[in-house]
């Protein structure tokens, strides 16, 4: 760690990890309710549990990006954060807003629009938080060195905030509502978040493989071009059979199929950089997370996304467990693993220790990743059976749910494995090992 102000990233990383734990816990509760439907029906209805699970996910991922930005901007811009104090205030405000939202949900106060359930005041709070963040980071960028990594990251974060503004518009016509909803959800995960992913991976590759920045930047530009080229019009894959004009089918089919390409490019990029630059960096687990992120994102977003992205297939699979399978692996592979990669990389520097608990961290990696992969498989099977019985044979929804109950039990099992793996990861990141109390600062590897 070269710059004192990078330390503010610690708040965000710890905050994100806490919310991560909560997200997984509520996921497991939701998975339990799926198989034991009456379990908490009196105290905490399923829709609220689900809401906390998904909202905690989004909030901790965003918090992780904020932390990542506060960590990497000083190093990229070669200057201190504009105002570390503002960054800390921003953190607490964000955490309070998230907490208030959860309390509200428990009392049934929400707008009922998936992922965007936050009541209006909370949404305004989120915008205020975003403005504080953007002010702080943009000022940092402006006074320092401008690199491709920091420029792409900042442009992407600006658009994350701008696109969120669509969340304020909620037309009563359901088809129109969905159009705007996807402007946020799709253009986030398949647009600007993907740029964040590309730039953070680029940063990690520069730092860990020692490949020239110039080479990495070229790859970054190519990944950015491919992402925007395919992702923006790829939105069409959500406008198939929901009352939107028919031409969206052609647009969605062509462009969203091509969305696989940038994810594939990221796999090639990461492995090529590691192959070229070598694996001498001491933080093996951070490297594992980075490589794993590109691969699992390719499977979750690319392969599982493509599986139901053609309009003729989506006609049958829309909103079934196939979607849930894809949602889980894509979010995990791309953005959960991305955050864990940068956390694993940054924490040793931030806390001035050797990369500690690597073994435990890597165990966590394998258990969690296998758990999520297995969960994806069970949900995919459930989804295929559900699609066949419900959409092709026309069976009743609840009768079908009975037929696939076994898969839901298996999902719960893999969910518990994930919970164990995540415990390992958080333990490895947060709790310092007894033996490694050597407070030796590890040297920054040459860029």
């Amino acid at each position: 760690m070269k710059y004192q102000s990078q330390k503010v990233a610690l708040y965000y990383i710890y905050g994100a990890l806490a919310l991560f734990a909560a997200q997984i816990l509520f996921g497991v509760v939701a998975g339990t309710v799926y198989v034991l439907p009456n379990l908490f029906s009196e105290i905490l209805p399923f829709n609220v549990i689900r809401m906390i699970h998904t909202n905690a996910l989004i909030v901790w991922l965003l918090m992780g990006y904020f932390g990542a930005a506060y960590y990497l901007l000083p190093e990229e811009c070669e200057t201190e954060i504009h105002s570390p104090k503002l960054a800390i205030i921003q953190f607490w405000l964000f955490l309070i807003a998230a907490g208030a939202a959860v309390v509200g949900y428990i009392f049934g106060i929400h707008e009922g629009r998936e992922f965007l359930e936050q009541p209006l005041p909370i949404k305004v709070g989120i915008v205020v938080v975003a403005l504080m963040f953007l002010y702080n980071t943009t000022m940092t960028l402006l006074k320092g060195r401008k690199t491709a990594v920091s420029n792409v990251l900042m442009v992407a974060l600006w658009f994350v905030a701008l696109l969120f503004l669509f969340a304020f518009y909620n037309p009563s016509n359901l088809a129109v509502d969905k159009m705007y909803w996807w402007y946020v959800v799709h253009l986030w995960v398949e647009g600007v978040w993907e740029l964040i992913m590309a730039s953070i991976l680029a940063f990690l590759m520069i730092k860990m493989t020692g490949v020239d920045r110039e080479v990495v930047e070229k790859w970054l530009y190519v990944m950015v071009s491919l992402t925007l080229f395919t992702g923006i019009l790829g939105t069409g894959h959500h406008y198939y059979w929901i009352g939107t004009p028919g031409y969206w089918q052609w647009i969605g089919n062509v462009f969203s199929t091509l969305e696989v390409v940038p994810f594939f490019a990221m796999v090639v990029f990461c492995f090529y950089m590691v192959w070229k630059g070598g694996r001498d960096h001491p933080n093996k687990s951070a490297l594992l997370w980075s490589l794993g992120c590109s691969v699992m994102a390719f499977f979750g977003a690319g392969v599982w996304g493509f599986m139901h992205t053609l309009s003729s297939i989506n006609y049958y699979t829309h909103g079934t467990q196939v979607t849930a399978a894809h949602g889980h692996l894509a979010f995990y592979g791309a953005y959960v693993m991305l955050n864990l990669a940068i956390f694993t990389y940054a924490l040793p520097y931030l806390r001035g220790r050797e990369p500690y608990n690597q073994q435990l961290n890597m165990w966590g990696f394998w258990i969690t990743t296998s758990g999520m992969a297995f969960m994806t498989f069970t949900l995919t099977f459930a989804g295929v059976v559900q699609t066949h019985l419900q959409r092709v044979l026309g069976m009743n929804y609840m009768d079908v749910q009975d037929q696939v109950a076994l898969f839901y039990w298996m999902r719960l099992g893999s969910g518990i494995a994930v919970l164990i793996g995540v415990t390992f990861i958080i333990w490895a990141l947060v709790v310092p090992p007894r033996a490694a109390s050597v407070r030796a600062k590890i040297s920054q590897p040459a860029e």
Binding site: D212, E214, V215, K218, Y221, V222, S225, L226, F229, T230, P245, G246, Y247, W250, I251, N253, V254, F255, T257, L258, V268, Y272
Partner: protein, 197 residues
């Protein structure tokens, strides 16, 4: 990747700063990334069009009768000529004649404008005949493909204009590369949508 290994073998290992061979092409390498992507998309659309035609040959044949082949042909000539002007613009900037390069760029974009006017007339005739974006699969694809292409012409005119303001060599080459891509796509769209029946 194959290009990369091929190019770097033999020479000194210079691929540290290379674009995998794209830097050997005229214009900025990122423009070539864009050109490749564009070709993939338009190629996919043209093949989709052919595939959809197989599903409904009669419907496609009936609808295709209503296309204006003359307008399509004239537009091909217009774009080819405009592309020629873009080549002249590069030649001019290569010989250091900035003024003439600017002139050719303006003339090239003028060609683009004429293309758009003819396209508008064509579309207007369709709309007047009560044909729209959702009349049939044929017309959906017709409007989508030619419409996407026309949007690229608009964008291309913008790029040529910007390049005419700052006509450095790399800028002119990059702008012209985009313009030629637009030209080339039309040269493929025209036979596939207008002529083959």
């Amino acid at each position: 990747m194959t290009a990369q290994t091929q190019l770097s073998s033999g020479a000194e290992d210079n691929d540290t700063a290379s674009w995998g061979g794209l830097e050997l092409l005229p214009g900025h390498p990122i423009m070539w990334v864009l050109i490749l992507s564009e070709l993939v998309v338009f190629g996919a659309f043209l093949l989709t069009f052919s595939g959809a035609r197989v599903v409904d040959p009669q419907g496609f044949a009936q609808d295709q009768m209503q296309l204006d082949r003359l307008a399509g042909g004239i537009n091909t000539l217009v774009l080819l000529t405009s592309g020629l002007f873009a080549v002249f613009a590069i030649q001019a900037v290569n010989t250091g004649n900035i003024c003439r390069s600017r002139l050719w760029l303006v003339l090239a974009s003028l060609g683009g404008a004429i293309f758009l006017i003819i396209k508008m007339i064509e579309y207007r005739a369709k709309f007047d005949a009560g044909i729209g974006l959702e009349s049939s699969t044929f017309f959906t694809l017709y409007f989508l493909i030619t419409g996407f292409h026309a949007l690229h012409v608009v964008l291309g005119i913008g790029i040529l204009m910007v390049v005419a303001i700052w006509p450095s060599r790399i800028n002119v080459e990059t702008g012209a590369a985009f313009w030629h891509m637009v030209d080339m796509v039309w040269v493929l769209v025209f036979p596939v949508i207008y002529l083959v029946r």
